[in-house]
């Protein structure tokens, strides 16, 4: 026979277990909106049976106990999610940035440089047919000014964007370093918990969330070690190892190599994430910017070569129309302090528009320095390439977004909290708790009866 208080003890274990189950359910309900939270399940198990020695040995059930609290999580999904959100962030950021660049170029609208270039050459054609006309000369000056100003505005705004992005990369680096330190802290706590055998799902959730955030900035590789700590690396560069975090240096950024170079020389390759997007965008913008510079320089050189050979209405020659060496400093030359100095003529005859004609026909000439393209085509090639870059970023964003949504659904299916489900669990555990409480009172009654019987015999 089991001992007298066996039933009470069984009931009290049931009460405790159900209480724990209800608390865990409450925990789930409380965290229904917590990002990165994984639902937890109380793992109930029957306690070891008691052996009753008699004619035959009987095994009698002894109730329930909580084996553990399980965190429902699929680590494989987490890894894929981190990689995908890294890609998503990369393409989204790149798309946003390149869209801004598109806004700066303002093609295809009246405000774009392409219209200004054509208007510039058209003005010279108009001048070639009416070289003595003061109004048309003023028009030429105005179009030259408008074109060079558009060049300068484009270059200035692209430079501003580059500067802003460089700043953003620096803040991202400090953000990454902060996250790395937080992960190292969590590593310390998780390693301790694991050592004493009380692993907590909530800390793991927090760490997973931090790795995910980190992935949004830079694509990282995270490996869980035997002691429960997470090793996080960027290519060769180990960001977090055990309880140590290593800072990414923010002062030695090498954009061209698409990598951050650390002081000791180990390269941290930024494979993905918003930081990679910033680096890519900067590279693209620098490329557009360089080509604008080449275009501006070629334009100044070619226009001046013809213009200097011609004569103004005031008989002067060897005047430059434009000056400057790049897109940022191209402007109408100080030589043109009077519209009569615009050299329309190949001779000093006032009706000579042949030099203006030669200037306007420059637009059809191809130049080796412009990849054997004409001036208008060289420019529209930049715009077409910008469109391609933006488009592929947009496609990358759409694709990774769909993938991310699917993964999110899969992961939520495993780890997410469903309120209705938790409510029904809560009811289930509540009923069990009520039953166990009833059990206590029945057991209590039997013991009271027993005690009363014993008292009666005495």
């Amino acid at each position: 026979m089991p001992w007298t208080f066996f039933g009470l003890e069984l009931a009290s274990r049931a009460l405790q277990s159900m209480q724990l189950a209800m608390n865990t359910t409450s925990h789930n309900l409380a965290n229904v909106n917590t990002p990165g939270y994984s639902r937890q399940r109380v793992h109930l198990t029957a306690t070891d049976p008691v052996a009753l020695q008699g004619v035959r040995t009987l095994f009698m059930g002894s109730g329930v106990r909580v084996e553990g609290i399980q965190r429902l999580r699929d680590q494989f999904l987490d890894e894929r999610m981190a990689a995908t959100s890294s890609d998503y962030q990369r393409y989204t950021t790149l798309y946003q940035r390149l869209t801004q660049v598109e806004d700066v170029f303002s093609e295809p609208t009246e405000a774009g440089l392409s219209r200004r270039i054509v208007a510039f050459f058209n003005a010279f054609q108009e001048l070639s047919a009416n070289p003595e006309n003061v109004g048309i000369r003023a028009g030429v000056l105005q179009q030259s000014d408008a074109m060079t100003r558009t060049f300068r505005e484009l270059a200035t705004r692209l430079d501003e964007m580059l500067l802003e992005m460089e700043q953003r990369i620096r803040t991202t680096v400090s953000e990454v370093n902060f996250l790395a330190r937080s992960i190292a802290d969590l590593n310390t706590r998780i390693r301790y918990q694991k050592a004493v055998g009380t692993e907590s799902g909530d800390l793991l959730d927090q760490r997973t969330l931090l790795v995910e955030k980190l992935s949004e900035y830079v694509g990282v590789r995270a490996t869980e070690m035997a002691d429960g700590t997470l090793r996080v690396s960027l290519g060769e560069f180990v960001l977090v190892e055990s309880d140590q975090a290593r800072d990414l240096p923010s002062d030695t950024i090498d954009y061209v190599g698409k990598a951050l170079v650390n002081i000791t020389g180990a390269r941290a390759s930024i494979a993905s994430g918003s930081m990679r997007a910033l680096m890519d965008a900067m590279q693209y913008i620098r490329n557009y910017r360089d080509r604008l510079d080449r275009l501006a320089a070629e334009l100044v050189e070619q226009v001046n070569a013809i213009h200097r050979a011609g004569y103004g209405l005031d008989g002067t020659t060897d005047n430059r129309l434009l000056e400057g060496t790049n897109a940022l400093n191209i402007r109408v030359s100080a030589d043109i302090n009077d519209i009569n100095r615009i050299a329309a003529g190949a001779t000093s005859s006032p009706g000579d528009g042949n030099n203006a004609l030669a200037l306007s026909r420059l637009r059809m000439r191809m130049f080796a320095s412009l990849d054997n393209k004409t001036i208008p085509d060289f420019y529209s090639a930049i715009v077409a390439e910008l469109g391609q870059h933006t488009r592929s970023a947009s496609i990358g964003r759409e694709n990774s977004k769909i993938l991310m949504q699917n993964l999110q659904a899969e992961r939520e299916s495993v780890s997410g909290v469903n309120v209705d489900e938790e409510m029904s669990n809560l009811l289930r555990y509540q009923r069990s708790y009520q039953a166990a409480a009833q059990l206590v009172s029945i057991m209590d009654a039997t013991i009271v009866d027993l005690l009363a019987a014993l008292a009666g015999r005495r």
Binding site: N130, E132, D352, T390, S413
Partner: protein
């Protein structure tokens, strides 16, 4: 598949977001009427669009150039026709003067009339202008081309060509220099007057008339050139107008949205968005909590 509460919200949010974005896109298409609003909407179409815009912008300029060329050539043609008339009259008078029956008084009267016509030649030469420009001065368009010194007509202009670009392939010279055309006519007529005044009938009939005929032939050739240039300008003008229409149409098919299609699309997306919102509202209201006593 098991669906968590936040997943349900998330999916609904995604659906609302996506459908709203698509609704907004359709709205933009209808409002702007443009299919390509930025290069990334269609990189190939956008770069083609830039080229077409450039060609259209250039065509506009060509049209202005063509108008200039045509007007300039017309004015030249009118002046040449007047010169032609004067030259013909001179020839008729010279033939009259060369006849043996003509007496001295009659010849003097003829000489007087030809001298008047010489003045008219100078008038035509110095007063035919395009705007403020003297058309016979070569490129010294601000200087009157002719000055009479004694019996000679001195050319004050130069021999420069006024060139105008009419299409990428055609650059046309639109001016006729006053020398030797007008000066030649003047010289021949002045010579004829001298022969008549000095009663040198032999030289008048032998050389004078021949010179006048030479000038007439020369003028005819020049007029033929000017006329063919006017024809060429008109042909290019027609071609350019057609090109303009073609380019505008092509540009429209590349850049513009089909209005009917865009509006239908907007309506469809609006309905899709309404459905999404209605579904969201219903799903958000369902909970076990509502059924627990």
């Amino acid at each position: 598949m098991r669906v968590s509460t936040s997943q349900m919200h998330y999916s609904l949010q995604q659906a609302i977001e996506r459908n709203y974005e698509r609704y907004h896109e359709a709205q933009q298409a209808v409002i702007t009427g443009k299919r390509i609003r930025r290069p990334s909407d269609d990189p190939f179409g956008a770069s083609l669009g830039i080229t077409l815009h450039r060609l259209l912008q250039e065509t506009e300029q060509y049209q202005r150039n063509l108008t200039t060329a045509r007007n300039f050539l017309f004015i030249t043609d009118v002046a040449l026709e007047e010169l032609n008339d004067l030259l013909r009259q001179t020839k008729a008078l010279a033939i009259q003067a060369a006849t043996d029956t003509q007496n001295v008084e009659g010849r003097q009267a003829i000489a007087y009339r030809i001298r008047q016509m010489l003045e008219q030649i100078v008038n035509i030469g110095n007063n035919t202008t395009y705007g403020d420009r003297f058309i016979f001065s070569g490129l010294k368009t601000l200087t009157p081309p002719f000055r009479v010194v004694g019996e000679e007509l001195v050319y004050e202009g130069d021999y420069g060509n006024l060139n105008v670009e009419l299409s990428p392939a055609v650059v046309m010279t639109i001016n006729v220099q006053g020398d030797p055309l007008v000066t030649g006519i003047y010289r021949a007529m002045a010579r004829v007057v001298q022969y008549i005044e000095t009663n040198n009938i032999e030289q008048l009939s032998r050389e004078g008339l021949q010179e006048l005929q030479n000038q007439l032939d020369n003028l005819l050739r020049t007029r033929a050139i000017v006329g063919s240039k006017i024809q060429q300008v008109e042909m290019i003008q027609q071609r350019l107008e057609k090109r303009n229409i073609d380019f505008t149409e092509l540009l429209s098919t590349i850049e513009d949205v089909d209005a009917a299609e865009a509006i239908t699309q907007l309506r469809m997306r609006e309905i899709a968005y309404q459905f999404t919102l209605a579904t969201a509202a219903r799903l958000q209201n369902l909970s076990l909590l509502d059924f627990l006593a």
